[in-house]
């Protein structure tokens, strides 16, 4: 019974992590049809920024709540700057070009940003352990749940609900949805598609950086974390369907619970279970679980 509960909670925590990382990626793809490899860099920059800034904050013994707020602020700031620089400085030059070209450009940006990280922060790894301790624990029998993990799940849930609400019930969300369906039609109706692209990309970058910032206390922040996470994010987005926030949520849950079950019950398959789930879904639904109906164009 305790093992089943542990699988459930571990799966939710891992799903929260995957969703936080993947939601920005799927948003960017849904609106802009860009598979942004540099999303891993947003995550990495967010993690480094949080590790440095929030680490310094906690070392000064300042109020705990402020540390968590700082984490979000740092992530938003990093995402804003990086998103604007990348979108206005690079991507707008390749809009309309072949998709492979755009992917290669984002890949080049990713490689450049990996070296920028090294130039700024060097080869050392950074540990942001203070938030883990500050968040406390909850005992459930022999199982000790981290308060930080619980917070992560809550954050992911709030984000999922918020994103879904925003897309369906706000003016800006509806504009985004129109652009997702048909950008040409959206432009014909007077929607500033370029502005939508910029804002979407920046939001996606902020979400990627937020994912990195909130994960920083749970990992060793070091060179290469962007590479690891982008592969996972792609898997989740592929399962859920490119461009679907709800799909990213369900995909993250599927992968999270599968992995947690594997770790507890059959650790030998833990490494590839994520990709096994992805392969299984794509065999039956090559377009992913939640894809929008594509209007037939005459």
């Amino acid at each position: 019974m305790l093992t089943a509960f542990a699988i459930l909670t571990d799966g939710l925590v891992y799903a929260a992590y995957l969703f936080l990382v993947a939601v920005g990626l799927t948003l960017i793809f849904g609106v802009m049809r860009i598979l942004n490899v540099a999303h891993g860099s947003f995550y990495a920059f967010g993690a480094y920024g949080a590790a440095i800034a929030v680490g310094m904050y906690f070392d000064r013994g300042l109020p705990v709540a402020g540390g968590f707020l700082l984490m979000v602020i740092v992530a938003m700031a990093i995402g804003l700057v990086l998103g604007l620089v990348l979108e206005r400085g690079l991507l707008r030059l390749v809009y309309g070009k072949d998709e492979i070209v755009v992917v290669l450009v984002t890949y080049a940006a990713f490689l450049i940003l990996e070296d920028v990280i090294r130039l700024i922060w060097g080869p050392s790894s950074y540990a942001l352990y203070q938030p883990l301790g500050a968040a406390g624990t909850v005992d459930v029998g022999a199982l000790v749940l981290s308060g930080y993990d619980i917070g992560l799940v809550v954050l992911a849930a709030v984000l999922a609900i918020g994103a879904s609400f925003a897309l369906k019930h706000t003016r800006w969300g509806r504009l985004l949805t129109v652009v997702i369906f048909d950008r040409e039609l959206a432009a014909a109706f007077g929607i500033n598609v370029t502005l939508v692209y910029t804002i979407t990309f920046v939001i996606g970058a902020m979400l990627g950086a937020l994912g990195g910032a909130v994960m920083a206390p749970k990992i060793a922040v070091t060179l290469g974390i962007g590479v690891e996470v982008i592969v996972l994010a792609f898997a989740v987005v592929a399962i859920g369907g490119m461009g679907s926030v709800g799909g990213a949520f369900i995909g993250a849950l599927l992968v999270g619970e599968s992995r947690a079950a594997a770790v507890h019950l059959v650790p030998q398959v833990e490494l590839f279970v994520i990709y096994a789930v992805m392969a299984l879904v794509l065999v039956f639904r090559p377009q992913g679980l939640f894809t929008r109906a594509q209007p037939r164009k005459i």
Binding site: L2, T3, A6, T9, D10, G11, V13, Y14, Y17, R118, P123, S124, S125, A127, Y129, L132, G133, A135, T137, A142, L143, V144, L145, S146, Y148, D149, M215, P217, K218, I219, A220, T222, L223, G224, I225, E228, R259, A260, V263, H264, P267, Q268, E270, L271
Partner: protein
């Protein structure tokens, strides 16, 4: 006026001569004895293994190369460089896939024409470059990697490893934990899912079986190398019935695991046995709970035998880098001093600058002093080193704000390493026959 046409005949002949010259082969040179010896050092200069492994490794290489070239290393290593020839060091980053590592190795040999390659932290890297080193006939000293497979899969001629392999670490750890924790019936393990982690766990499990047959394994976890996030693994271990947890985790993985596990009370509930734990003690500090059982892959740092060489090395390292040397630094020192011993032995025998084959012949089976201990090239037909080792218990000195190891137990080389003619697994499975522990 420019003339175009076939190059003059003498240019063709010179080109042909150069291409057939000994410079084309790996490491065999017809130079003067004092011509600099080119050594390619390969270690993690970036990535999660850089800070705890690659940088100390690189620092030790820099320190020793500079001091050897200046003749400032204490006797018996006080001759300049290698036999009077200064060392010309080239550093290469080990980060990347196995294919990248092999490409870099080939570049060192075929493009840079190094005399010796010294390096490799990851057992995956070592397994990848070893056959290539044999193919290219390149004298190669594997430095930190600990997989037993290098010399047990097949004999090697051009590859050496001064530092002992994982079997020593895990036999010593098993002996120590059985002395410290009474009536062990169940234990678990968490190790990185690649050669090093798998070999370490295998050796530990077999050693435990030989020493305490009634002890059983509850959970054996193998998260991905550089996974970084261990929530599910920690839950699994918390809900297991283990009386201790074995891990050969190192680098950022070890630190991330300790931070995450510590926040959820795992090390406080179930003692950890960390066979490479020494490498992260200065970074973890008080975050690692007291009572963890710590190894250093040999008698290094806290476990080093007193002596002039250790005193010199420790002081020189701290003075230059303003931080304590950890075991990867000692591993590099052992490798380089072993090479120097073999080189100068070969030179003394034949005179002049030794050829690769002469160095190999001199290296096989030698014994030499290092800052930590004495190494004997006793296994793998004289290509694999053994030494004594030590294990202890972690205690953070809060008054002085520094890590310490207490209750140190030393194990002789022949107690925790297999005999020369027996591979590790059969030796362990056979109950470690022939081990001399007195």
């Amino acid at each position: 006026m420019h003339h175009h046409g076939c190059p003059p005949t003498f240019v063709l002949v010179a080109g042909l001569s150069l291409s057939l010259s000994p410079f084309a082969a790996g490491g065999v040179h017809a130079e003067e004895p004092t011509t600099p010896v080119k050594i390619g050092f390969v270690t993690f200069l970036t990535g999660p293994a850089a800070a705890p492994f690659g940088i100390p490794d690189h620092n030790a290489a820099e320190l020793l190369v500079d001091n050897l070239n200046a003749g400032k290393v204490p006797a018996p290593y006080n001759q300049i460089g290698l036999g009077g020839a200064k060392i010309d060091a080239k550093f290469v980053d080990e980060a990347g896939s196995a294919a990248d590592v092999v490409t870099q190795f080939r570049n060192l040999v075929e493009r840079d024409h190094v005399d010796v390659v010294v390096g490799y932290v990851s057992s995956g890297s070592c397994l990848a470059v070893t056959p290539v080193a044999e193919e290219l006939k390149q004298l190669t000293l594997l430095d930190i990697c600990g997989t037993t497979r290098i010399f047990e899969e097949k004999p090697r001629h051009y590859v050496f490893r001064v530092n002992p392999h994982a079997t020593m670490d895990n036999v010593a750890a098993a002996k120590y934990v059985l002395d410290r924790i009474k009536d062990i019936s169940v234990y678990s393990g968490i190790n990185q899912n690649y050669a090093w982690g798998q070999d370490s766990w295998r050796d530990f499990r077999l050693a435990m079986k030989g020493l305490d047959p009634k002890a059983t394994v509850d959970k054996e976890l193998f998260p991905k190398f550089f996974a970084g996030e261990y929530g599910a693994e920690i839950s699994t271990l918390l809900t297991s019935s283990a009386q201790f947890i074995h891990s050969s985790f190192y680098d950022g993985d070890l630190e991330a695991f300790i931070y995450q596990a510590g926040a959820r009370g795992l090390p406080q509930r179930i003692p950890l046995v960390l066979t490479t734990g020494e490498s992260s003690l200065w970074r973890l500090g008080s975050k690692l709970p007291d009572g963890a059982i710590i190894g250093a892959r040999g008698p290094h740092t806290f476990f080093a035998h007193d002596g002039e060489l250790n005193t010199w090395f420790h002081k020189a390292y701290v003075d230059r880098f303003n931080e304590q040397p950890i075991y990867p630094a000692y591993d590099l020192a052992q490798s380089l001093l072993g090479l120097k011993t073999a080189w100068e032995k070969a030179q003394a025998k034949k005179g002049g600058r030794p050829a690769t084959e002469d160095v190999i012949a001199a290296f096989e089976g030698i014994s030499f002093k290092t800052p930590s201990t004495t190494v004997q090239m006793a296994l793998g037909n004289g290509h694999q080193g053994i030494s004594d080792t030590a294990v202890g218990t972690y205690k953070f000195n809060r008054a002085e704000n520094k890590p310490e190891i207490v209750d140190i137990v030393r194990y002789p080389a022949q107690c925790v390493n297999p005999p020369a003619d027996v591979d590790s697994v059969p030796w362990l499975e056979g109950g470690m026959k022939g081990a001399k522990c007195d």
